[in-house]
Symmetry: D2
Subunit: 422 residues, 4 copies
């Protein structure tokens, strides 16, 4: 069998294994069509309305390309028996993502990575049923890849490392859909530079500049797209809106049971896998649209702000003026807004690249460059650009407030006098 999917990023995606094709057709995987890849970013970059479904297809495609290339080119260094487990893990790595995951997880104590593993290993899912056709322990193997416990580090690193199939696809895809040009890099060169080595994967020196460019692209996408202040404003509103609903729930159980039944198990911390899978962007937005008519003005107001895209404004908070946030918040309160709901702090920080630090909390697998003499060297030792980004946190902390405050003279004068940046 061969099925072909038209993909704007990779052109054609070929599926020639019935296991992969049947996984794509499961209810759990199809559900990813209903969850946007970039969450609130499409409020800022209107072109970026793509779903996690298309991203997962792309990750599978890259994994298929690499594993087939390895099988043909490195028969001694790579075991072709790993192809299917790698491809399945690539396809399914995000299958547990939920609606607005990052915000949601913070409030309701869910964990999309745990859900991913559960979907793969729980006997009740369509995904599990199909994986078991390969072998009874195959679901566990796929789950192990995703949780970094799989014994072969080559497979683990293809799915999760500082330059893995996931990141390669999302950078290219988010670049394509936002229209940003920064995120493009030479994936064809990277895909022919990648080599399996005993401890994982490495990159031939001839492809080093392409890897370097990938790191810079990643940095630029974080700075320009993922950390955009307007998208984060929408995330702040979303967080406040859900928090308000959660607080109102105990006194309004009947209301929420009628209008927002799929959220109730989460309000009550009694949710199971089926509850989790019942939620998607459309369901959440449908609930928010109902809440727009609720009598609690905070709930209805925040719901309207979210649905109709009324963004909050923001300023950057730096160490030297962090103490001024209280004064600003006080002025917001004096203007009639409850600060708990109409102001917020949003942090966005990223470490574009790092070498291995054994004592760090979460040590990273560093990118290794294979030199012509066979020696492996860590990337930042060879690249001054990468060295400039390595180990340095980028991003900022922002204080969000209602737009109307920009007309408040006292508010503005605090900003100006303390050299607070917008």
């Amino acid at each position: 069998m061969e099925k072909v999917f038209r993909d704007p990023v990779h052109n054609y995606i070929h599926v020639n294994n019935p296991i992969i094709y049947d996984l794509i057709n499961t209810a759990e995987f199809q559900r990813l069509r209903r969850i946007k890849q970039l969450g609130t970013s499409s409020f800022t970059f209107h072109g970026a309305e793509h779903s996690r479904f298309s991203h997962c297809m792309g990750v599978y495609h890259i994994a298929k390309t690499i594993t087939e290339y390895f099988s043909n080119t490195y028969p001694l260094e790579w075991n072709p028996d790993e192809n299917l487990v790698t491809q399945c893990a690539a396809l399914l790595h995000d299958v547990g993502h939920g609606a607005y995951s990052h915000t949601f997880e913070g409030l309701f104590d869910t964990d999309h990575e745990a859900v991913t593993r559960e979907i793969i290993t729980s006997a009740d899912t369509e995904v599990n049923t199909i994986l078991r056709r390969v072998s009874p322990d195959f679901p566990e193997k796929v789950a192990a890849v995703i949780s970094h416990d799989y014994p072969n580090p080559q497979v683990v690193q293809l799915i999760s490392s500082q330059i893995d199939t996931d990141r390669m696809d999302y950078l290219l895809r988010d670049t394509y859909y936002t229209g940003a040009v920064y995120g493009k890099f030479d994936i064809d060169r990277i895909l022919t530079s990648i080599v399996p080595v005993p401890d994982g994967i490495a990159f031939k020196i001839s492809g080093m500049h392409a890897v370097e460019d990938y790191i810079v692209s990643r940095y630029q996408m974080y700075m320009q797209v993922y950390f955009h202040p307007a998208s984060r404003a929408m995330e702040v509103i979303l967080q406040k809106l859900l928090a308000r609903a959660k607080i109102l729930y105990p006194e309004n159980q009947a209301y929420f049971l009628q209008t927002s039944p799929c959220l109730v198990p989460f309000f009550e911390y009694k949710n199971n896998l089926q509850d989790y899978l019942a939620l998607d962007d459309g369901v959440m937005n449908t609930y928010f649209q109902t809440w727009m008519r609720h009598e609690d003005t905070i709930l209805s107001d925040l719901a309207k702000a979210y649905i109709n895209r009324h963004v909050l404004k923001s300023v950057q908070i730096a160490n030297e003026n962090e103490d001024k946030v209280d004064s600003l918040r006080k002025l917001v309160a004096e203007s009639g807004f409850i600060p708990d709901y109409y102001t917020g702090i949003h942090d966005n920080f990223d470490l574009p690249y790092d070498f291995y630090r054994p004592n760090s909390e979460k040590p990273r697998t560093q990118i290794e460059i294979l030199q012509k003499n066979g020696v492996l060297t860590e990337l930042s030792k060879l690249s001054p650009i990468v060295a400039s980004l390595a180990g340095t946190i980028h991003g900022n902390r922002r204080f969000y407030f209602p737009k109307i405050m920009l007309e408040n003279e006292e508010f503005i004068s605090i900003i100006n006098q303390n050299n607070i940046q917008f």
Copy 2:
């Protein structure tokens, strides 16, 4: 003021008129973010998940480019006072589109063009409030452009003709998002070839090949993307699902009122503008997901088929074998499927281009080419390719049925013996 939107198709979209910016920020316009541009096509072309919001932004951008170019280049032939009305009509031309419009309109007797006009002219909308800031009669003017009643044919043709700002954007945009290459054409050349003439707009002969290429691109997109059998299968399922719900409603009023409140006014044919605006793709899908657990197995089965993308299969129906459809349908019934819900006929036909036929039911404004000697000539007289497509209907009629019928020998033998094409 100037606001800039990143757009993957047009790169940057500049908004420098507060009226336009405020229209974009209305609840009615923001709602377009929640309605996919291509409906069920994204089930086939997974990349094409873009919304009507981004399409409308693109149509505005093209209208802005043309009207500014006209103002600078043809001060005698074009009146710059028309710029704003043209741009507003371009931005708002689809503001009345609803969720799954084509299917929905057939069942519930709604009309998205009438809704567009209502949103523009009804005093209750945010859109109308903003348009009235220009002048009290400005909403009516914008609505007149959309209903082809505006006195200046140049403006009307920019918004609606065989080569208008709407079609130019959707062909480029749908091409970009599906990843099809057929739909690309040289919009830059077209935009500098377009000329205002007394009766409307025309194209300089030097740009004729670009116009020709646009017509071919349009034809290819219809054949390859818009008429794709799998997308139409999903449309058939959707149509059956909504029809089933409508039939069940009288006996299940309480159920639908609770689970699908926004559809009830339509079941009762008592819907008003607010009811219409309350529906979007996410709301509809949320209802369908609820229906998946309804005790009526037809409703729940069709809801699952739609949500989890279980496509129907199909064959083409031609005149010479139309009489065989009954036999096929009978076999579907014998296999235990109620034909009314599990089979369907779907027609997709398009006239890629036509010259003006005064006696036709809906005469088209033909494309005029301005020759170097000043004479206007209808496009198909100059282009053999366009002549080959002019006035000829393309597309087909398909009979849809459950996939499992492909294993029914009698069913297959009817298909083969009657030379019915898949």
Copy 3:
């Protein structure tokens, strides 16, 4: 071994056969770097300065892609032993092209296809030496492919037919370098639709629209790029310039022997292969630059016109006004220009596609579409667009004259009164 070439059209071109790599490094193949692919077209499309070298690399790449795909996918229908001969023929198909071939061949009775075969089969060339390493009769085999005498029609059609590796590369390449958008088509789809059949190659129906689009692209490139009036003006000047030199030669042998030694064998019709290979665009232009200072004002004038791009202007000649050309030419003479050198007729006609016509002078291998039921059908029977182009000659005949004639009132009035088109 594997050598990789960066190519802007195909991204990376991989060479993994030493025969191919060594052929690329021959003097005869490297010489193609010094011959522009599009001749005088770069005077009109300044971006299109690419050489026959890069085109030949691209044709090789497409042939490699198809033959490897055939070997993997159609082991019964395609013989992998044909891969190398196909790839060599693809690489070398234009190795005999000379400087400004079309103009040159008309004047000096050379034939680039015959030269191609001679380079391949003559024992004196580096190309032949390398080909003989495969087997003593391998050069003859490669030459037979190019002259359509090779027994396997699949191989012949891959190199030369209405949709062959040569045309696919030049359409994409010329599109890329001119910046025209018309010429793009979906080569990836075509390359996975192509199937070897007993009588040659065919295309699966699922790829028919891509083939259709290729035919339209080809038509557009001819109309828009290859037949551009300004490029043809430069061809007319070039033809007149070389003709003048040839006429002057008998009385100026010493001059030409000193300034233009490599042309002398051609003036004397005594040229051999080495003489032919000594000529390239740079050598010709160097001679022309010398001729700019010759005392014969026709020669020097035409040389300056060519080198400094002083284009002639032109009008279209149609049957109904062909008799007016004499009057125009007479006026050119009266203005002091010798018509034989300062006016010219230039024909450009093309048959975008044709089906097989056994009685035609040069019958074409038609494009066959493989339908799902296994039947082969000729393309134009399935595609109305192709039918509209099939068998119809497109192009025009132009009369060229000095630009200054546009200021001659009588000249202009003949043009206008007889409805002669520019």
Copy 4:
């Protein structure tokens, strides 16, 4: 008037000033069609065969875009009277470039910048005649811009600074033609971020990441394309070839006068402007092709190596092993090659970006970022990536030698034992 040029990098280039159009049509400017933009790089990147003509058209286009944008957007900060001088300087900034300039200038003491000024200011050129139509002192003004003596620093910096119209075009153009993806940056964003300030030009902070990306792109193009070892090998051969001809000249005057007349004035150091303009890539290559048959085996051998692309191989020279070069060179001599002609040292170093260093030999105009509060800040203070590249020289020194030395065991063992890198 308006003339439109199709350009693959900028799409359409519009010329609406007769001065510009007439400058394009001068003999001196048309001559740029015969000089490759990238010299020997097309031996490595076969797609990069574009000429200085197309680059100069692109620089003009960018200058036109910026000056028109400035005129509309910054009427107080920018004087529209500077538009034409800026556009002329942009178009003509490279008009004095000669064939293989860098190599040639080293050997024959020419200076393409001085020639550029001479073409502009000398009364004998077509360029000067046209510029004088603007005003008698206009040629001097244009020349002053190019020599950095023009009083308005805004104009000077648009033509020559660390982010000028020249660099923007060549990065994009060389990227397009080589097929490298590294060189792409968001020129549209840069062009709307650029602001005229009293001391020159600056960039709004909102466009800082685009500027940052431009610096990285520039660095990558130097590392990957401009400094490619194989292209430099061809430059070494070229340098040796011309040096050999120069040495042979005194004893072979008649030979060179007959075969290479346009080089003689340079051999004799008596060259004038006309001599300079008579040389181009084609003329040089024609001479080299003649020299392939000269009896001096060094001359003929080097000519063949250059024409037929027989590249030298190379190793990197670092401080710690610089003393080993002599041993390597000695082995080359022992193998029968005269080291002066068959070995060479080639340095390629670049400073990707630097801030202003008043005491440096050639202080650079630094890139200034305009912050929201109106303060100008030097780029590397805001960007860690740029800081990592600022003031640091990148590139390497290479020792070139005949390929056959790779089979010499002693030679290889010196390389390996001293950890010399290829």
